[in-house]
Each structure stands twice: as structure tokens, then as C-alpha cells.
């Protein structure tokens, strides 16, 4: 089962002829992802690692019927790429791009939602269902199939946790990087709901960080709706307020978004929160019994 991506995934790569797009297309193909098409305006007729390139998403959809799109397009053009994918009817859009203006995302978020599509990201590593489909920029080999769903606002920190799980012999159903921006298309709650529904997911890892109140909202959701064991990790216990810690969304502002609050909320919802990434594996092992 898994969630969002799997063997049925037919992937479109927007920005496929760019440096990043081309490199990761190769990586995703190597992992076994079914990359069916790419789009770069003006590059129709070319091939990138054997994948046909189209001028427009509409053309790519007509010719290859993708059901997921991944976007490697620079920030100034990424919102347009999202609109193009959504307007072409692609139900799941993954935006890797970092640095999209926040007020642009206010519009994009509303638009995508109104069309009934799902956006993952932006500023995220993508998602992977180990052994089936890698739709992102994470290193594939650190993952292994298994019962743990991972959802995270971070990139390399997710790899760290996944790697700890894998090294402890614990595989993952799907690992979803939801992104580090203040406004992201898919929240913890959305993914928690999917993991709760997914019969192959037996436990869930939630990796949060300072900024915003999404972890608190997730804690509330877990208390009400999630019966599977959840283990948390929150980065940024030592982060000072008012300073952006790399991610546009990782900032304690207006007295909100501290790690302490988030940890307290999760623990109050019965979610053990690891102090170190490696401890996540220990807690998950305990949870899985």
C-alpha cells in the first residue's frame, strides 16, 4: 500500500532539462521510478536520460498520462509550474524548489486546494516509498521497505532519522518531506491521516522543527484521530527567537513556534519525543513491540 506514490506512479518532471532536474531524473530512474515525461518550454522533441520532453504539461499529459509531477524549476517560475500542473489535472504535485515568495504561496495554496489537488512542498526533499518509487532528491539507498511512515519538515535531518531506522533494521512504508517553508501544500495532519488509513503503516515518525504551530496542530490531531503509535523529533531546542534558521519557516516569532511548546504538545498527546535523531529508532522499536 504505502501512501501517495508507489509502483503505479507515472512521474512527470517539470524543469527536466535543468541541471537539478536532469541529475535527479537520472537518480529517480536508477531507483526504479517510472518517469514518463519531462517538460521544459522550448525543448519539445528532446530526450533526457531516455525520457521524452514536451513544451507544455498539457502536451505531456496528452502523450504520457502522468499522475504525479515533480518540479525542479527556479523560484521565480515555480508558482507558474505548479499552476500549469494543477490546471492540466495532475492530482499530486511535488515542488522541490526553495525560495518561493511567501505571499505567492498564499495564492498557490488556495488555488491548489480549490482544484482538489495535492501539493507537497515547496522547499522539500520530496517523498519515497522504498522499493517502489522515489519522487524527490533523497538518497535512495538509505531507505528500506517496512512498516514506519515518516513525515518531516526537514531534508537531511529526515535522511538522518531514516538512516537510523534502516540501520536498526526498521523499514519505512513511505517517507514524506513536507517542506520547510511557512506555507506548504501538505501539512503533518494530512500525512498523518494517510498513514493512519494505510494498512501497511504500523507506526509513524513525525519530524518537526521550530516555527509555526503545525506540530501543535498535529498533536491535537493525533490525540483525536491517530491510533497507531507515533514518535516525534523536534529540531531547534537551542534556536534563539527572531532568527531564521535556514528554512524560511524555521523561525520563532511573535512568541510562537518554540521547540519546548511543540514537544510539550506532542507529549501531552502521548507522543514520545526523541532527544536525538538516533533515539527515534529506539522509541519506534519499543512502540512496535
Amino acid at each position: 500500500m504505502s501512501v501517495l506514490v508507489n509502483r503505479e506512479t507515472r512521474l512527470l518532471v517539470q524543469g527536466i532539462t535543468g541541471r537539478e532536474g536532469s541529475f535527479h531524473t537520472a537518480q529517480m530512474l536508477e531507483y526504479g521510478t517510472n518517469v514518463v515525461a519531462g517538460v521544459t518550454p522550448g525543448a519539445a522533441g528532446r530526450e533526457v536520460h531516455g525520457v521524452p520532453v514536451f513544451n507544455t504539461v498539457a502536451d505531456a499529459v496528452a502523450a504520457t498520462r502522468p499522475n504525479v509531477s515533480i518540479i525542479y524549476v527556479p523560484a521565480p517560475f515555480a508558482p507558474d509550474a505548479i499552476y500549469e500542473a494543477v490546471d492540466a489535472g495532475i492530482p499530486l504535485v511535488v515542488c522541490i524548489t526553495e525560495g518561493i515568495p511567501t505571499l505567492e504561496m498564499v495564492r498557490v495554496y488556495q488555488y491548489v486546494k480549490s482544484r482538489g489537488c495535492r501539493l507537497i512542498g515547496p522547499n522539500c526533499p520530496g517523498l519515497i516509498t522504498p522499493g517502489q518509487a522515489k519522487v524527490g532528491i533523497m538518497p535512495g539507498y538509505i531507505h528500506q521497505p517496512g512498516p514506519v511512515g515518516v513525515v518531516s519538515r526537514s531534508g537531511t535531518l529526515t535522511y538522518e532519522v531514516v538512516w537510523a531506522l534502516t540501520q536498526a533494521g526498521i523499514g519505512q512504508s513511505t517517507a514524506v518531506g513536507i517542506g520547510g517553508d511557512p506555507i506548504i501544500g501538505t501539512s503533518f495532519i494530512d500525512v498523518l491521516a494517510m498513514f493512519q488509513e494505510d494498512p501497511e503503516t504500523e507506526a509513524i515518525v513525525l519530524i518537526g522543527e521550530i516555527g509555526g504551530t503545525d506540530e501543535e496542530a498535529a498533536a491535537g490531531y493525533i490525540r483525536e484521530h491517530v491510533t497507531k503509535p507515533v514518535v516525534g523529533f523536534i529540531a531547534g531546542r537551542t534556536a534563539p527567537p527572531g532568527k531564521r534558521m535556514g528554512h524560511a519557516g524555521a523561525i520563532i516569532s511573535g512568541g510562537q513556534g518554540t521547540a519546548a511548546e511543540k514537544i510539550a504538545a506532542l507529549e501531552a498527546a502521548g507522543v514520545p519525543v526523541a532527544e536525538r535523531p538516533a533515539q527515534v529508532a529506539e522509541l519506534i522499536r519499543k512502540a512496535l513491540g
Binding site: 511567501t102 498564499v106 488556495q110 531534508g155 509555526g212 537551542t238 511573535g254 532527544e275
Partner: protein, 382 residues
């Protein structure tokens, strides 16, 4: 990106908001002259990018030029929350009937821009939000259509304003919203917003924080940056495309990825140390970037040890090691260095580093522990 009060006031006034225009002064003499010009009581305000300047004594009233000069001299000699004051704003003192708060900010939870107002103006709005949240009224702007006129009016009615004040207030709220959207702000705030004794509205303090992600489409905002107000190391890091925040510990951190960087800092703390900085070298982690990062971290005299934590990810371990070795050639490392390297081809990478005589450890936890020990002098550079 933070900008100064006087810059924010200039932007607000461009969008029609009545602001209490002052004169920016860099010396007590200039402040005296400004007070002379206004020919009235003046207020003298420190121009710094930190909050709480009022409580810190950074805002003074002066009856005339003499007092203005004295007050300006005192304020210009101050350091507020570690930030030295280089400029003051001298503005006419206003006869205020009541003080309000008006602000526009992104509400992350609803994914919308929210306009907030309060009759409890002039004081710390975060405190109001915490202590008496019912004193703040809010309107959430439509993501695609913006703030409707009726919403702006509703704010005025909710504040309990007299009928004749509602429309002018609503106009102001719309103007502030328009300014916020137009400059791609993450915060735009008037606090206090004064209702003067002659029943007109006037922004007494103006604040704008700009969205860093949107700077690329506002090249004109680069000119608003105040190099004096920023940490020089943070400036250098930004120029190199590195996310860097200076902290006050002793263990320098060089990490790839923002979340991992924070987790690394947390691990340092967990094992009894204190991080000297947050640093994310970014995705590429080229040898040049690693070198710049190392140099940045080492230029902090407090740093007693450096912890390098790289999760190779797509980048191959041997490439990272090569970059590191390359970087070490150009940087003088005066403190112990602890390296943790994982990822594709980690074995090759580690071997290369070990051959160069560098300590390479397996896990982040071990690396943090070692770095803490090294900073305490319990272990030297391998």
C-alpha cells in the same frame, strides 16, 4: 530582512498612510538642528533592528533643541540588546487622544494574511496576544482577492470606534494591507497608531519586515539594508549563499541542511556544550562553500572546537571528503575539528579524511560528544 523605522515610514507614506515624518540623525548636533526645525517638542528614537527599545531607554522626549541634543547623545551612545545605535529619528511630539495597534502579518496556521487591530496600542502586542487575546480583533484576507472593504470596516466597528472614525480607519487598514502585499512583507505594523486630539489618524511608529524569499523581485529593497545593523559574519555568509546565525557558545557547527543543523546544535547542547552558531552550507556543499563556512566559523574568537556534520545524501562521500580536504588547504584551523560524514561512498570519503589525519566519527551523537570534549580541552586535534 529588517528595515529601520524611518524606512518603513517612508514606504507607508508612499501608500497614503499618514506618518509622523521625522528626520534621521547620526549625531547629537543633527538632532539639535532637527528639533530646531520642528520648533516643537520632539521625540528621539533609536533606529535599531531589535524590539523593546522603549523599555531600554531608546526613546526620549525633548522639550527643545538643547534637550534633544542631550537625549540624542545618550541614545547614540547606547547598545540595545547588543546592537549599537548609529542613528536616531527625531520627530515632532504629537498630541495623542488614544493609541491603537494595527498590523498585517502572515498567519501560518490558516495560510492567510491576517490584519490585526487593537485598542491596546502602544504596548507589546505579543504580550496583549498572550495575556488578553480578546483585545485583538482580526480579519483574514482572501488569498486571491485580498482584504475586502467590508472587512476593513469591520475592524473599525469591532474596535468600538465612533462612527466618524470607522471609514478613515478602514482606509488606513486597506492601505497598510496594500503596502504589505506590494513590498512582499512578512510583517507590517503601526504601533502605536495614534488618534490625535484633532481626531485624525497618524502612524507614530512604523515597522516592516521583508520576506527574504521575495527580495529577488524587489531589487530596490537591497538599498534598504543597513550593513551597520547586521552581524558582519552573517553578511559574509549571506553573500556566500550560506545560512548562518551567530550564537554565543564555543562549538562551531558546519552542517548541510537546516533541520540537521538545528539537530546538531541541539545534540551539542544535550552533551553539555554550547553551539557557537547555526550554519547550513546548503545542498551543493562544494569545497569552496565548505571552506567559506569553515572560515566563517573559525573567525569567531569564542569557538573552541568545530563540528562538521555532513549527511552526504545525493552528494557522494568521496566528493565531500575531497571538498573538505581542499577547503582545509586554504583555511587555518586553529581549534580541534570533529568530522562526521555519512552518505553514498562514505567509506571512501572517510578513508581519505583519515589518511589526511582527521578524526572521522560514525554518528552525530558521537561527533557532538567529541566536539564538546574537545572544546573543554579534554581532547586535542587528532
Amino acid at each position: 530582512m529588517n528595515i529601520h523605522e524611518y524606512q518603513a515610514a517612508e514606504i507607508f507614506s508612499r501608500y497614503g498612510i499618514p506618518v509622523n515624518r521625522g528626520i534621521v540623525c547620526a549625531s547629537p548636533e543633527e538632532a539639535r538642528a532637527a528639533a530646531q526645525d520642528f520648533g516643537s517638542r520632539v521625540v528621539i528614537k533609536a533606529q535599531v533592528h531589535v524590539g523593546g527599545r522603549g523599555k531600554a531607554g531608546g526613546i526620549r522626549l525633548a522639550a527643545g533643541p538643547d534637550e534633544a541634543e542631550v537625549a540624542a547623545r545618550q541614545i547614540l551612545g547606547m547598545t540595545i540588546r547588543g546592537v549599537p545605535v548609529h542613528r536616531v529619528l527625531v520627530a515632532p511630539a504629537i498630541d495623542i487622544a488614544r493609541e491603537y495597534y494595527l498590523g498585517v502579518v502572515l498567519d501560518r496556521a490558516s495560510r492567510r494574511v491576517v490584519v490585526m487591530a487593537s485598542a491596546a496600542g502602544g504596548i507589546d502586542i505579543e504580550e496583549v496576544a498572550r495575556e488578553t487575546p480578546e483585545k485583538i480583533v482580526r480579519e483574514y484576507a482572501d488569498p486571491l482577492l485580498g482584504l475586502h472593504d467590508y472587512q476593513a470596516r469591520r475592524l473599525g466597528f469591532a474596535l468600538g470606534l465612533e462612527q466618524d472614525l470607522v471609514r478613515p480607519f478602514a482606509k488606513l487598514a486597506r492601505q497598510l494591507f496594500t503596502a504589505y502585499m506590494a513590498v512582499d512583507a512578512s510583517l507590517a505594523e503601526i504601533n502605536p497608531l495614534a488618534l490625535t486630539t484633532d481626531r485624525s489618524w497618524l502612524a507614530l511608529d512604523s515597522k516592516i519586515v521583508l520576506d527574504d524569499n521575495a527580495l529577488f523581485r524587489h531589487p530596490e529593497h537591497e538599498a534598504l539594508r543597513d550593513p551597520q545593523a547586521e552581524d558582519p559574519l552573517e553578511q559574509e555568509a549571506r553573500a556566500a549563499g550560506i545560512s548562518f546565525v551567530r550564537l554565543d557558545g564555543t562549538i562551531g557547527c558546519v552542517v548541510n541542511g537546516a533541520g540537521l543543523s538545528m539537530a546538531t546544535m541541539d545534540a551539542v547542547k544535550l552533551y553539555g556544550g554550547a553551539p557557537a552558531n547555526f550554519l547550513d552550507v546548503g545542498g551543493g556543499a562544494s569545497s569552496q562553500q565548505v571552506a567559506t563556512a569553515l572560515r566563517l566559523v573559525l573567525s569567531d574568537p569564542n569557538v573552541k572546537a568545530v563540528l562538521i556534520n555532513i549527511f552526504g545524501g545525493i552528494t557522494r562521500g568521496d566528493v565531500v571528503a575531497e571538498g573538505l580536504l581542499e577547503a582545509l588547504k586554504t583555511v587555518d584551523v586553529r581549534v580541534p575539528l570533529v568530522i562526521r560524514l555519512v552518505g553514498t561512498r562514505q567509506e571512501e570519503g572517510r578513508r581519505m579524511l583519515a589518511e589526511a589525519g582527521l578524526t572521522v566519527v560514525d554518528t552525530m551523537e558521537e561527533a557532538a560528544q567529541r566536539a564538546v570534549q574537545a572544546a573543554e580541552g579534554r581532547e586535542t586535534r587528532a
